[in-house]
Amino acid sequence: MALYEPDRSQYPVKKPDGTLDIDLSSGKYLKLWQGPQHPGITGNMSLELTVCGDEVVDCQTHVGYLHRGFEKLMERRTYIQCFPIVCRICVPEPDFNEYCYAAAVEELSGIKSPRRADWIRTLILEMGRINSYMMYLGGQAGSLGMGVIGQWTTYVRDLMLDRFEELTGARIYHMFILPGGVRDGLPEGFEKRMEETLREIESTMKDVYEAMFCNAVFKKRAIGLGYIDPTLIDPYGVTGPTARAAGVAKDVRKDFPYLVYPELDFEPVTGKDSDAFTRADVRRRDVLLSIDLIRQILDKMPHDGPLMAKIPNVLHWKVPRGETYIRAECSRGEYGYYLVSDGSGYPRRVNVRGPSYTHAVALLERLIINVNIADVAGLMVSLHTYPPEIER
């Protein structure tokens, strides 16, 4: 019997209402689950793929494997009790949660964090960004068959975690940026050790560039994969490096400057081709930008001054009625907190806007059509999606 060769010009046929006519019993299609236990899935999520031959014709994403109900939990906690749990929403980059939450509470309460605390916050956010990109680079290379890159990037990420540990006392969940300021200043000799770490990262990034970005296999598989047309950027809520790789210079650090970014000298990294390769390259250059920003911050930051603004007695901290939205640029795109207060000591509503919410559901379901099964993982990682942001 001849091998089955799908003729994708013939089927699946679109029904008048726009849905696809997929008859599983015809033998032309196969349902395939990728995830939730699959090395090619970022985090706790699954893709229900319908394939024809080895091409994907339809995809439905499924989340809900890691729902912890943070938004609801916060409604039953006082403002200060919420501060240690917000970082747990996102493992690779917890600091953006801390910053956005703290800034939202400060804004509604009319508190201004001290200047020195703002510099330290910016430093932490840039350190977190490097950490997150290191996880991404390893994942992107691994999803397309290069396991060793992940070992190199995990090594330098670990060095950065050491810097986090000496600065905040914790490696992953730092609980360092709290409403009103930060918990502590820089330890002695921090700048020197940070410089050593940055040099190590630069050296690793050079290796990563040569081994990954100049590699024929990576180029062959990543170039042209998951092309996002620039016209899709706004309808699909695409932000961050994914939008910048399409030539749209969306960067919250430049568009809506926060903390001390106006005092730093930088230009958002952009690309042109909007495929998986360009997105990886934009993120690689973004790491180099973050290294430069950390050097600028350590060079310019004040070394004395208060670290905490005066905050009310935390047991009786009532935030005036109001609502606000605070955004920051995380490694995956726009991260934001929408906080509503009813004037009591508990938040009325907190909504976390993670970039994966739009990237991993609507956008992924669209880009995945006609992709080969073997490239699904590479495509998903190239959007740098992180499911816990979707279900909080």
């Binding site: 439905q60 989340v63 809900g64 729902h67 109900g69 938004e71 609801k72 939990l73 409604e75 039953r76 906690r77 006082t78 009790q81 804004e107 706004d234 309808p235 699909y236 809520g237 932000t239 969306k250 568009d255 809506f256 007695n313 935390v314 047991l315 109001g322 609502e323 606000t324 939205y325 955004r327 726009e334 934001g336 929408y338 509503v340 009325r348 509503r349 909504n351 806007r353 919410y357 739009t358 559901v361 609507a362 956008l363 669209r366 979707i390 279900e391």
Partner: protein, 176 residues
């Protein structure tokens, strides 16, 4: 932002206006005027990016507030549109044809708050919760404590303290 509000007010019957920051304002919009206003903002005022769509439960007032946060990147400004719906049989027209990503938000709101968006793709499918038949859990009258007591066991040997009392003793011993 106030200029934009005045301009919009000539075209749409807008309600309460709150300017939170120089670049962020919230305005209340009647339910039926939301869609034309969104299209106007998107096509004429460059608010092309739907940042988020979420709901707030004002239980005491018997209303849900839907917040549509729109962003104009070129003009560096954000506008939040508040739509107030009665809590009973809350239904709202979907905007998934304007922003495909809205379908995900609408699915979540259907599941977590019980707000219906007829016609939105997969809106009645389970999104996060599996086999959930009770009250939508993000409503204010959903009792989280009762739920956890009914569904989870206490870990033996684990001491629990009242958080408010414990914090008071630890942080402000003079007040205790």
């Amino acid at each position: 932002m106030r200029e934009l509000y005045e301009q919009l007010k000539r075209l749409f019957p807008l309600g309460e206006y709150t300017e939170q920051r120089r670049d962020l304002a919230f305005v209340t919009v009647p339910k039926d005027h939301l869609r034309p206003l969104l299209i106007h903002l998107r096509d004429r005022e460059r608010f092309t990016h739907l940042v988020l769509l979420t709901a707030v439960d004002w239980l005491e007032e018997g209303r849900f507030q839907l917040t549509y946060l729109m962003n104009d990147r070129a003009g560096k400004r954000d506008l939040g549109l508040r739509v107030l719906l009665p809590r009973e049989q809350a239904t709202m027209e979907g905007i998934h044809d304007l922003w495909p990503t809205a379908a995900t938000y609408q699915r979540e709101l259907r599941e977590m708050f019980g707000i219906d968006f007829p016609g939105s793709p997969r809106v009645n499918e389970e999104f996060i919760l599996e086999g959930w038949t009770g009250m939508p859990p993000y409503r204010r009258d959903f009792d989280t404590k009762k739920f956890s007591e009914e569904n989870f066991n206490h870990r033996p040997g684990r001491a629990t303290t009242d958080p408010a009392k414990h914090m008071k003793e630890k942080l402000y011993p003079d007040e205790a």
